[in-house]
């Protein structure tokens, strides 16, 4: 099937969603996703961050879709034309979604363990505005204790339901769900029961924000001060393929391995995650690939020493152009200088 996203046409399998098709093109085109999580069945459609404009429904029925559609759950039709980053209304709506998600968010990034690998940070940085229009008091929730391993901070939650799907699909019994309605809705276990299950720790990995974090890692480090390393062990419960996060010689955190979309490739068990925190527990494979622009690579791997890969000559030419432009606009306008008196 043929689909065109932002003027790029590609062939995809029937049943592919717009999101999956866009991800095949690359991260520049892929719509942001706060709730969609490919490994979890039924996820998506809730955060509305990935809304896109369909300007042509299909080859057969070329009418545009009247509303913006969520890219993560809308299947591609043959000949569909989608506008993502090139459509003004999509970008405007996305600004609104950022605003809605941040409306009751505490913005406590300086003390949040997720900062640096937070999808909400990325999303608001890329699509939001730097000012706020709200004068209202933010909603807050009473703290809920989910046991010794998982820290829940409901104030930061964006209700993506990923953890609920994880609990439903990965763990043996449903360990938690969403209670209450509207902006009072919260993730909770029934009558404050602790989450206790071999695979429950995966809710930490799937959480896009700092609502569910690792208690054993709490306040130990900022993510950009730690170094991710791929490792494995022979575990009887899970695949044993993990990422170890080192600070100096110490393993301060164990997480599942994630792909470039921040999705866990294999879910890991709680023993691997919370109990195996010695290098001797693991077989080290090598450093994790981290994107050069990621905050995690800052001050590591000599990232700051890497020279730009593009041709120096072109860079020099571009530099001159910018310089000329500056000269024109600021230095060669005497009228402006006079007016300042």
């Amino acid at each position: 099937m043929k689909v065109t996203i932002d003027n790029i046409t590609l062939e995809v399998e029937p049943g592919t969603t717009i999101m999956q098709a866009a991800r095949q093109i690359g991260p520049e085109i892929a719509p942001p996703a706060m709730c969609y999580y490919e490994p979890l069945k039924g996820s998506g459609g809730k955060c509305r961050a990935c809304l896109v404009k369909v300007t042509q429904g299909s080859e057969k029925d070329p009418r545009p879709m009247p509303k913006l559609v969520p890219a993560c759950i809308t299947a591609v039709q043959d000949g569909m034309v989608v506008e993502n980053t090139v459509n003004e209304s999509v970008l405007e709506t996305r600004k609104g979604i950022v605003e809605f998600l941040l409306l009751n968010h505490p913005l406590d990034c300086p003390v949040c363990d997720q900062a640096g690998e937070c999808h909400l940070q990325d999303f608001s940085f890329e699509h939001g505005v730097s000012t706020t229009r709200t004068a209202e008091e933010r909603n807050t929730f009473e703290p809920t204790d989910l046991g010794p391993n998982i820290q829940l901070n409901m104030n930061r939650c964006v209700l993506c339901y990923r953890c609920v799907y994880t609990a439903d699909q990965i763990t043996d019994g449903r360990v938690h769900g969403v209670m209450y309605r509207g902006d009072h809705a919260e993730i909770s276990t029934y009558i404050e029961k602790a989450i206790d299950n071999d695979f429950s720790g995966n809710v930490i990995d799937v959480c896009p924000v700092g609502a569910l974090t690792d208690k054993t890692y709490r306040f130990k480090s900022r993510v950009w001060f730690s170094k991710p390393v791929e490792a494995h062990c022979s575990c009887e419960k899970c695949s044993g393929n993990v990422t170890l996060w080192y600070k100096g010689d110490e393993v301060i955190r164990v997480t599942g391995r994630k792909n470039e979309w921040g999705e866990v490739m294999e879910f890991i068990c709680n023993t691997c995650r919370f109990d195996r925190k010695k290098t001797s527990d693991w077989v080290i494979e090598g450093p994790t690939q981290v994107a050069r622009h990621s905050v995690i690579s800052a001050n590591k791997y000599g990232a700051n020493l890497i020279k730009p890969a593009f041709p120096i000559a072109q860079a020099a030419r571009d530099y001159k152009l910018i310089d000329d432009d500056r000269d024109r606009s600021f230095l060669h306008e005497p009228a402006k200088i006079e007016a300042k008196k």
Partner: protein
């Protein structure tokens, strides 16, 4: 012309014997014995009957969309979760004459080939649920429900399900989730219920009033029904009239009478209460745009506005509204529109399911901002902020609750912006008990 409420005041009409004596269950006999399911669907299509729950989608067309794969059961679900503020027609119909609905259920289920059907009744209406249960038992005893109904070979089981106690459970997919025993969160569409509804099987969800009307259509033919009304708005409609009128209540009107006649004639609302004047009307339940007096009585082109789907929505959102579910709320000049908008905004804030972000956060935001304006702490930029928030919610949510929350706020500001401005500019006057802004030169000004 009365169809649904013709015998509603007959004593003991809630019993099967009295209902039958007044011509009840003739449609079941006619449909099951003399007609094929497709013929029933065809009559309903011919009648032009449109969904009475709010959206006004043609019932016959909805039925024809139902997927009919071999070996997969189909279901009919009656949406009796009526929770729209200002709407109370289904409640009245089920309470007074439960057999009207049950008869319609049998006929409609037969047309759709459903062998199991559900009536999802608003949980707060426990006494209505008891009335329905009793009536269903009577129907079972008389062989009108169960196996081999009236010897026709058609089986139908009818169940009543008490609702989960949330407005959102009236949204058709949230209703299906709730019916399955889950949290009442609306589903993403597609797939639509006609393909994957309750228990992942093809399902039709119809309003009480739509289903109840089908038995009359079977008895008298689709053409007779289509003869009532104007244009594409055929038949009769139950209107729940409330507010500052002399005779509030449920009225069955033939579609096509003028709004003016409905408000002022003695046959219907009987006019505005003595000594007062009409200020504004919410014509179809809390989620439709509010209109000021002059716009509800006449359209932008100067014609008299009629009680029809088309005429009420004439002019789009700029100067029109919608028939919606028929919750007709009339306000006189003593009503403060800001206060009224706050009431609606608070309701949607309370009832948002919290699944998708624009509605979850946006409804709360609008509620808080209007609350501030109403309590004398508004800022100048708040009005434009509200308009923008409403715009960002509308159309971007999973279900229509987002739209329903955004429209009343956007419409109130569109038509009564001066009232909001007055609240912001004169907080000391606006916060006084009973203070209402009087627009200079308005038709309702004293």
């Amino acid at each position: 012309m009365k169809i649904l409420t013709e015998h509603i005041d007959v004593p003991q009409i809630e019993t099967l014997a009295v209902y039958k004596k007044n011509g009840g269950y003739k449609a079941v006999e006619k449909a099951l014995k003399k007609m094929t399911p497709d013929e029933v669907t065809e009559e309903v299509k011919k009648s032009g009957l449109r969904g009475r729950g709010g959206a006004g989608f043609p019932v016959g067309m909805k039925w024809s969309f139902l997927a009919k794969p071999e070996g997969v059961p189909r279901y009919l679900v009656c949406n009796a979760d009526e929770s729209e503020p200002g709407t109370f027609k289904d409640h009245y119909l089920m309470w007074k004459s439960p057999h009207t609905l049950i008869e319609g259920m049998i006929v409609s289920s037969y047309a759709l080939g459903a062998n199991t059907s559900y009536i999802y009744v608003r949980g707060e209406l426990m006494y209505v649920i008891n009335i329905l249960e009793k009536a269903i038992q009577e129907a079972y005893d008389q062989g009108l429900l169960g196996k081999n109904i009236l010897g026709s070979g058609y089986d139908l089981d009818l169940f009543v399900q008490p609702g989960g106690g949330a407005y959102i459970c009236g949204e058709e997919t949230a209703l299906l989730e709730s019916l399955e025993g889950k949290r009442g969160n609306p589903r993403n569409k597609p797939p639509f219920p006609a393909v994957k509804g309750v228990w992942q099987c093809p399902t039709v969800v119809n309003n009480v009033e739509s289903i109840a009307a089908t038995s009359w259509i079977v008895n008298n033919g689709g053409d007779a029904y289509a003869a009532i009304g104007v244009g594409r708005s055929t038949g009769t409609k139950l209107i729940s009239a409330s507010g500052h009128i002399k005779k509030p209540g449920v009225y069955e009107i033939p579609l096509g009478i003028t709004v003016e006649e409905f408000i002022y004639s003695d046959e219907w609302c009987g006019g505005i209460r003595d000594g007062h004047k009409l200020k504004a009307v919410v014509a179809g339940g809390s989620s439709v745009p509010i209109l000021p007096a002059e716009m509800i009585l006449t359209t932008a082109t100067g014609e008299k506005r009629l009680m029809t789907y088309e005429s009420l929505s004439d002019g789009g959102f700029a100067t029109g509204t919608m028939l919606g579910s028929g919750g007709f709320i009339v306000m006189d000049e003593t009503t403060c529109i800001v206060h009224n908008t706050l009431t609606f905004a608070r309701f949607y804030h309370h009832e948002s399911c919290g699944q998708c972000s624009p509605c979850r956060e946006g409804t709360g935001w609008m509620d808080k901002v209007i609350h501030r304006i109403e309590h004398g702490k508004g800022r100048k930029e708040d009005i434009d902020l509200l308009v923008d928030v409403a715009k960002k919610i509308e159309g971007n949510t999973i279900c229509p609750l987002g739209d329903a929350a955004a429209w009343p706020v956007a419409a109130a500001i569109r038509h009564f912006r001066d009232e909001f401005e007055w609240h912001i500019e004169h907080p000391e006057l606006a916060t006084k008990e009973g203070a209402v802004f009087m627009r200079p030169g308005a038709s309702w000004a004293q």
